[in-house]
Symmetry: C2
Subunit: 293 residues, 2 copies
């Protein structure tokens, strides 16, 4: 994160007092409305930053929807609709087609939005609305010492997909990178049981350290227990831990509890020590993940 972004986010945090904002430290806003709990998130993507300029716009649309739904998944929420913000390009038909495909796949209605002209890099944003399916709504901030740490699936497949896509390897399956699938069903099943939960978008180590910081604990991860793709070369194992875009759910459970869906136990929550995160015996060396700036 650049110092400019850090300062801006600090300034925004200074503007926030409503509890629904969760101090701008969670994946979503969580708002009581009409006797129910509304979950709202907004994520943006920029050409050349979040996708390769030569990528199919249909995949960009899919990913924009999927990443926002992944934030809802981390709250155990059921999606109820989305609004699109879109800057026009020369050819917008593929984006519309991909958005339609993704909306149908996830059974989420498009409710509104805005399209604008822009002289610069294409910028797209999506607001996703969801309905909480249990209370309290999971947060990043309530992991407790003694809990176990879990993840719903492997990390690193999106990295391999991105590398195959950017090197133009036609035989590789790049769909995990291009068309991630948010863990909506898993999120709903887990929400009543977890002590803390978030989606892994920016790299397992970075997101785990964020969960640890928010909860005031230390997460001790066992590197041998972290699931990796079967085709990951051994020498890339460390890279896989700090690459993002896999959109698995990272969560903590009370000791002894068993998740109701496929998941891998990857560590233990300790009382807060010197570092928020241990990988094996020591804090991880090197980058923790993908900072958006």
């Amino acid at each position: 994160m650049s110092s400019g972004e850090a300062a801006f986010i600090a300034a925004l945090r200074g503007l926030v007092s409503h509890p629904a904002a969760r101090g701008l430290a969670d994946d979503c806003a969580v708002l009581e409305f009409g006797g129910e709990t509304l979950i709202v998130t907004h994520d943006m993507m920029v050409e050349g930053v979040h996708w390769l300029p030569e990528q199919d716009p249909a995949d960009v649309a899919w990913k924009l929807l999927a990443t926002n739904l992944s934030d809802l998944a981390a709250k155990g929420a059921e999606p109820i609709g989305v609004l699109l913000g879109y800057t026009l390009t020369e050819d917008n038909a593929r984006f519309a087609a991909g958005l339609g495909e993704a909306l149908a796949h996830f059974a989420v209605p498009l409710l509104g939005g805005d399209t604008v002209r822009s002289p610069g890099a294409q910028t797209v944003g999506l607001t996703a609305l969801g309905r909480a399916t249990c209370k309290p709504v999971p947060s990043r901030s309530s992991a407790r010492a003694g809990d176990s740490v879990w993840i719903t699936g492997p990390v690193g497949a999106a990295m391999l997909g991105f590398e195959a896509l950017s090197s133009g390897n036609p035989s590789a399956d790049t769909s995990v990178y291009r068309r991630p699938v948010p863990r909506l069903a898993e999120g709903r099943a887990l929400a009543p049981l977890v002590t803390a939960m978030m989606d892994v978008s920016d790299g397992l180590l970075l997101d785990a350290s964020r969960l640890a910081e928010a909860s005031g604990v230390t997460l001790a991860l066992d590197p041998r227990a972290i699931p990796l793709p079967a085709d990951l070369p051994n020498e890339r194992a460390r890279d896989a831990l700090s690459w993002g875009d896999d959109y698995e759910l990272l969560f903590t459970l009370p000791s002894g509890a068993v998740p109701p869906c496929r998941a891998h136990r990857i560590g233990t929550v300790l009382p807060r020590g010197d570092a928020p995160l241990l990988l094996g015996e020591a804090p991880p060396a090197g980058p923790l993940g993908f900072e958006h700036c």
Copy 2:
């Protein structure tokens, strides 16, 4: 509107079936949630398209919030919170300051959002959430022949403000252009009474023709009755009718009904004739308003 934008919006409309989307033809999505009605809108602004590059970012932040709140005003909704989408620039402090000022002024909480890096023109988006204060929630599509047509205030002041700002006239008051004030209280007071309502963002004539098209009627406006700023030169009167950014509310009332707030009667609703809009005796010549592309 470019043919590209028209085709893209047509493609999006083809994706829409949920009644909350109102066919993407209204200012906001209108969604039943819990036991209440949620109003959601998302508008974007792009540097060099929606604001002058030399403008104070604090004013950009104000306007971004105000234009989205104006959409809520057109539904008679009470704002409950906003999410920000923001691409970082060299200096973000003035934007944060202006956003804080505007949020405090309108007593609206910041609930979340996203900040991203971008190599291009700065692009900002805002999602505003509101609570409907009456049902049915006003739409653009239910004006009826025989209704009277009203507007809450003059059009053209933003045009004069923009021109003073772009010509660098230091003595002019440009605040109407830089810091519009959405008609939230008026919208709430009017919502139970109107047959149709929208905010005037893209020019009175264009927005009036949109309301007429959505309602399947003709709006006959009396050019002498349309309120204009006191300092508007006579020769600019026609320009004022097709300039946007004034954010007054345009609405229709049953014949004989009197608005509960300051407003000007500017015309009558007729059964649909050849044209959606008459200005005096004939359809207006020349541009109707500001098409976003």
